[in-house]
Point group: C2
Chain length 192, copies 2
Amino acid sequence: MVIKDPEVAKLLADETRRSILHNLRHFEMTPCQLAKLLNKSVSSIMHHLNALEKAGLVEQTRSVVKGNLVERYYRASAKIFVISYVLSEGLVPGSEEIAQWTREICRNAVKGLEAFGFKLSEGDAEELLNLVERYSHLEQAAREEAISRYSSPMQIDKPALKLILSILTDLRLYNDREFLEVLNNIKRKLEG
Amino acid sequence: MVIKDPEVAKLLADETRRSILHNLRHFEMTPCQLAKLLNKSVSSIMHHLNALEKAGLVEQTRSVVKGNLVERYYRASAKIFVISYVLSEGLVPGSEEIAQWTREICRNAVKGLEAFGFKLSEGDAEELLNLVERYSHLEQAAREEAISRYSSPMQIDKPALKLILSILTDLRLYNDREFLEVLNNIKRKLEG
């Protein structure tokens, strides 16, 4: 599922909501189970679930009556959620927050490169950040294009789905001159 | 964490064990919680947890005494697990089962391409399967090489870690003539 509405995408900037969605992708769960798992109150989980349900990201699957309590089960509406690159790039009104969030991930990635044995000067880190942001946008746009082709109700298991998306994304990117240039520049900076 | 022992990798061929590991990557959980979540008996979960612990894939974090019961919490030993490509390619003794499992994923991916609007003749599907297997192996080897560079205790959050691995994997692959040839051949097959 490709999320194109900035209001819906913003829901995913919250870690608890991401965790809820993440868990409901694989299993149906009740608010109580989620609360225990995520160490939150049931009312806080309910609040998040309502927001996610309203946005169409989760749906109720069934309810079970236990004594005089009704337990509702929820499930994510899709196996894979991606935020549209037009939001990550801040290209549409209301998407500034999402763009901010994406930049934060890129910044953490550049910082994290040190753990992979790459030492960067401050100036290089700044330039690399721009390249990594460009890389991330192009990759996301290509992945989104690949996911958008998935239109049949045919069920594909997760590892196979990931492999298909990886292939289709690569096919798109390795023919994209801008992407290859970005990669080359990243390489040069890292080998600096 | 790169898994190089075929006996350990085999543990992941079981869906329940994969689910357990998947859940413990994000939260510490007790066997009881896992049993409820995965709809399995506690004894079956315990059995799997013991196997995973023995293999070093999960570890106990703490135990809580409740009445006369001791609840043990478990957590995955790493955020990301990948099976070494030498196992997926069946290159070492005892890895035939893993190689079989990888082939199955590739076969499902080729079948799944139909859902993405690609129609393939039976002969093409057979040839494409070989290419997809080659793609998968090269991609996995490059990713493994990237992960192996991650040697510092520095904590990197998941989205940033994924981005770093994606960049380092691409840097490796787009300089690999065999990979580009495989991609080109896949492209030709898909465009019929």
